[in-house]
Amino acid sequence: MATRIDTHPHPVAAHAEATGLVAWLTTVDHKRIGILYGVTAFVFLLVGGLEALLIRLQLALPHQRIVGAEFYNALFTMHGTTMIFLAVMPLNAMFFNYMIPLMIGARDVAFPRLNAFSYWVYLSGGIFINLSFLVGTPPDGGWFGYANLTTRPFSPGPSIDFWVIGLQVLGVSSVVASVNFAVTIMNMRAPGMTLMRMPLFVWMSLIVQFLVVLAFPIITVGLIFLMMDRFFGTHFFDVAAGADLHLWQHVFWAFGHPEVYILILPAFGIVSEVIPTFARKPLFGAPVMIYSGILIAFLGFGVWSHHMFASGMGPVADAAFSIATMLIAIPTGIKIFNWLATLWGGRIHVTTAFRFAAGILGVFTIGGLSGVMHASPPVDLQQTDSYFVVAHMHYVLIGGTLFGIFAGLYYWWPKMTGRLLDERLGRINFWTMFLGFNVAFFPQHFLGALGMPRRIYTYPADAGWTLWNFVSTAGAFVLGLGVALFLVNAALTMRRGARAAGDPWDGRTLEWRTSSPPPVHDFDQIPPVYSRDTFWREKYGDRHGRKPVPRPPMPEPHGIHLPAPSFWPIVAAVGILAAAVGALTHLALVVAGAAVTVVAIFAFALEHHGNPAHAHQVGELAVDHRKLAMWTFLGSECFFFGTLIATYLAYKGRNVVGPHPHEILNLPLTTLSTFDLLMSSLLMVLALAAAQRGDRTQTRLWLAGTVLFGVIFLGFQAWEFTEFVHEGLTLRTNLFGSTFFTLTGFHGGHVAIGVTWLTTLLILDLRGRLTVADALKVEVAGLYWHFVDIVWIAIFTLVYLIP
C-alpha cells in the first residue's frame, strides 16, 4: 500500500490530530468518539455490574438484610436501565463509531458533529440518571416502569422523574446517532461496496439503526405521557379517569422488544466477522444471514405482546403473538446453523476473540431455546416474572450480547489501540467469564421452575430456593472477576503489549487494510472493493486463487477533507443536561438550558454555512446525506405521531366526564386552518423551485408566504386552544383533553419548529447568504414541512372528521 497523502490537505486536517482536553471535548473524529463511547460505557458496565453483585449478595441466602426493600428495588431498576441504555447500547455504539467507517472504506461518518452531539447527550443522560443516587432517590419502578405504579400517586418522590426524563435524554442521543449511522452506511460506502458486499457487522448495524429510529419514538411518546401525568396532571394512566393500563405495556413493549434486537444484532454481526476470520473461510450463506437479520428485525416489531401474556389480552391475541414469536426462532436458528456450517471444514485458529464468539454459539442457543419455551403462552404463564425469565434474558444479553462485545473487543482492540491484548490472559479471561456466567445463570432456570418470582428482595427459607440462589451468587462473583480480568489485560498491554500490525488476524474486511491504529484520515486512499470479503480477495484471490486486477486509486481532486472540531455539540448537550436538572429543581434552569441548546443548535447549523467543502454531500445512493437523514428521521416521526394518534383513538369514548369531542370541536374553523396549512405546502414547493433556479426574489416571496401561512395556522390553533379552555377543557379535564392537547400540541410544536427553520432560511436569504448551492437546505426544510402537513391531514381526518 502506498502511503501518499494528498499534497494539498484541507487546512483543518491538522486540527484533528491535536491532543489535550480541548481536542477531546471538541473532537468530531469517529475513532475518538468511538473511544469516548467505549470508555464511558465500560465505566457504566462496571456500575451496572456492581449493582448486580449487590443484588446477588442480598439474595445469596434467605432473609438477608444487606440492603433494604426500597434500595433493592432501586438496584434492579438501575441495573437494568444502566446495562441496557448506558452500557450495552453505547458499547455497541463504540463499534459502530470506530469500525463502520473503516469497514465501508469511508473517512468519517456522514455527520461528524452530530456524532459528537450524540455522545455528549448520552453522557449527559447517564450522569443525570445516576445523579439520583447522590440525592438519595434512585429510580425504583423497574426498567420497564409499569404505569400506574410509576405515576405520582404511587411513586410520589423524584425517583421516577429522574428515570422518565433521563430516558428521554438518552432517546435523543440514540435516535440522532442512528440517523447518522444509517446515512453513513447507506451513503458513504466506498465505490464498489454494494449492499450485498457489505460486511455482516455493517449489515446488522444498519438494521439496528433502523430499529432504533423506528422503536425509540414509541417509548418516547410513552415517556411523554408518563411525564405529563406526573408533572401536568394529565390522565393517561389514571384508571379513575377511564385510562387503560395496558396502554403503557403496549407502548413500552412495542419499543422493548425491538430493543432486544437492538442489543443482540450487533453481537450477531461481530460473530459473523470473527468466525469466518478465524475459521479462515467465508461466512456460510452470507445473503441468507443478511435476510435472516432483516427478518428478525421485521418480526421483532410484531411480537411485543408476548411480554403481556399474563395481562389478560384474550386467547386470540395470545395465540397470534405466540405464533409470531415462534416464527422468530426460524431466522435465529438459521444464524446458528450457518455459523456452525462456517466452522465446518474450516481451519480454526483459536484466539480469545474466537472463544467468545464460539461461546455465543453454545450459550446463546440456550437463551434462544428458553425463548421458544416462553413463546407458548400457557408455559409462559408459569415462567414470566419468575427467575426462569431472568435466566433466559441473561443468556441472551450476556451469553449473546456481552460475549459478542467481548469478542469484538479482543478482535478489534489491536485495530483501535495498535496493541495486541495478551492471549494467555485472554484465555483465562474467557473461561472465567464463561464459567462464572453459567454458574450464575443456569441455576436460575431451576429457581424459576421452583416458582421464585422476580424482583423480590427477600425470600423465605422454606421455599426450596436457598441452594440455587447461593450457587448463583457465587457464579456472579466469578463472572465479575472475569470482567475485571479484561481490565487487567487492557492495563497491562496498553504500554507493554505487542504492537499490532495493520492486519494481525489475516482479516477479510477493509478495516484491516489500514494501519493499527488507523491514521486520522483512516485510509490514505479510498480502498478498492472487489467483492464481499474484499481484502481477503485482494490477498488470496477468489476460490481459484485468481487475484483481482488492482484498480488505480480513486482520484480525490479536493484532497482529503476532514471535518473541523467544534464546541457546539458539547454546548448543546450541556444545555440539555441543565434543562433536565432544571425540570427537577427550578423552572429558570429549564429555560436557561433550553436557551443554551437553541443557541448551540443555531451556531451548529450555521457554523459551516457557506463553506464550499460542505456544499457537496452526495453519496453512494446518489442522494445528499442531509436529505437521506431527513427521510430517515421522518420515518422516526411517523412512529412518533403514529403512537400519539393510536393513543388518541384507543382512548376515544373512554371519557368519564365531559366535555366530549363532538360537543367542542369546531369543524368549520379547523377546515379553514387545514386549508391554510395545505396551501403552505404549495408555497413551499414554489419556494424550493425558485431556490433551485436561483431566483432569489421568488424564493424570498414564497418562503415568506410559507412562513406566514404557518403562523396563521398556529394562530388558529392558539385561538382553538383558548376557546377550549374557556369552555372548560384543559389537559387535566378528562382523557379527551389529555390526548387531544398532547397530540395537537406536539403537532403545533412541529409547525412552530418548521416556521422557525423557514424563517432562518428567509433571513439568510434576505442577507444574501442563500445561494443556489443552498437549495438543498430549502429542500430538506421543505421535506420536513410537507411531512408536518401530511400529519395534520391524518389528525384532521381521524380527530375532527370521523365522529
Binding site: 409499569y146 471444514g345 408455559v379 421452575a449 416458582g451 418470582p453 424482583r455 476460490r543
Partner: protein, 316 residues
Amino acid sequence: MGPFAWDGPMSTVVAASDMARDVLALYGLITWICVAIGTLVFAVLGYVLVRFRERPGAPLPAQSHGRPWLEIAWTLGPAIVLLVIAVPTIQVIFRTQTLATPRDALEVVVRGYQWWWEFSYPSLGVVTANELVVPAGRRVVFRLEGPDVIHSFWVPKFGGKRDVVPGRANTMTLMPSSAGDFWGQCAEFCGASHANMGMRVVVHAPERFDAWVRAQRAPAVEPAGEPATTGKALFAASACVGCHTVRGVSAGTLGPDLTHFGSRTTLGAGMLPNTPQNLVAWVRDAPALKPGAKMPPFRLTDEQARALAAYLLALQ
C-alpha cells in the same frame, strides 16, 4: 426437602389443578424438544471445534460460500418442530381461557392491594385475606380486581398467573384436583413490599370446605377472659377500626378483614407465622417488619400490645 427436589410450595412442575396438568404436559413437551435441539447443537459445535481445529501445515480451507439445499433444510426443519409446539399450544390456550362456567362454579373475587390479598366469596358471604381456601373437584372462577396498582395472581400449582389490572376484569378458571396446601405470590412488581405479598392456598375436600365456610360465616368470637377482653376494648377504641373490619365491632375497609384472623396461619401476607410474639411486634410497628406497609407504627405498651394480640388471635 432436599436441595434437588422439584417439589416445593411454589413449584411450577407439580400440578394441583386441571389447568396445571394441561400446562405441565405442554411444558414437558416443549422442554424435551428444546433439550433435544440444544444437545444436537452442542454435539455439532463440540465436534466442529475439535475436528476442524488448526493443525500446523494444513492448507487453507476451501473458500465455499454456502449450500442452498442445506439452508433450506434448516429453515424447514425448525418450522416443522415449531408446528409440533404451536398446535398443542393453541389448543391449551383456548381450552384454558374459554372454559364455560358451570352453574355450580365457585366464584372468588381476588383483590390485590399493596401488599396483601383479599379473597371474597360473594355467593357464600365470606371475606378473608391472604389465605385462599377452595374446595377440591369443583370449578373455581377467580375474578381479579385491582384497586390500586397492577399485581399478578400466581399460584404455581394451579398452573399459571394472571395479572390483576385495575380497570380490567381478568378472570382465571380452573378446578383444584385434590386436598393440599401450598403458596402463591404476587408476580408483578408492585412497589416496596412486592416481595412480601404472598398468600397461603388451602385446597379442602368438599365437606371440609363447607365446614370452613360455616366457620367463616359465623360472627366474630367474643373474647373470654383477660387480656383478650382488654384487647377488644383497645381495638374498638383505637385507630384499628378505621381500616379493619371485625364483623359486629368495626367496618373499616382499607386493611384486611380480621373477623376470623385467629384462624389464619400467617401474618402480613404470608410473611410470618401467626404467633403471639410476631403479632405483638406487628401491631407495634408493621413497617419495620414489612417495608412500606400502610399500617402505621402504634405507640403501645407491652401490656397493650399483648392484649391486642391476644384478642386478634382469639378471633378464630
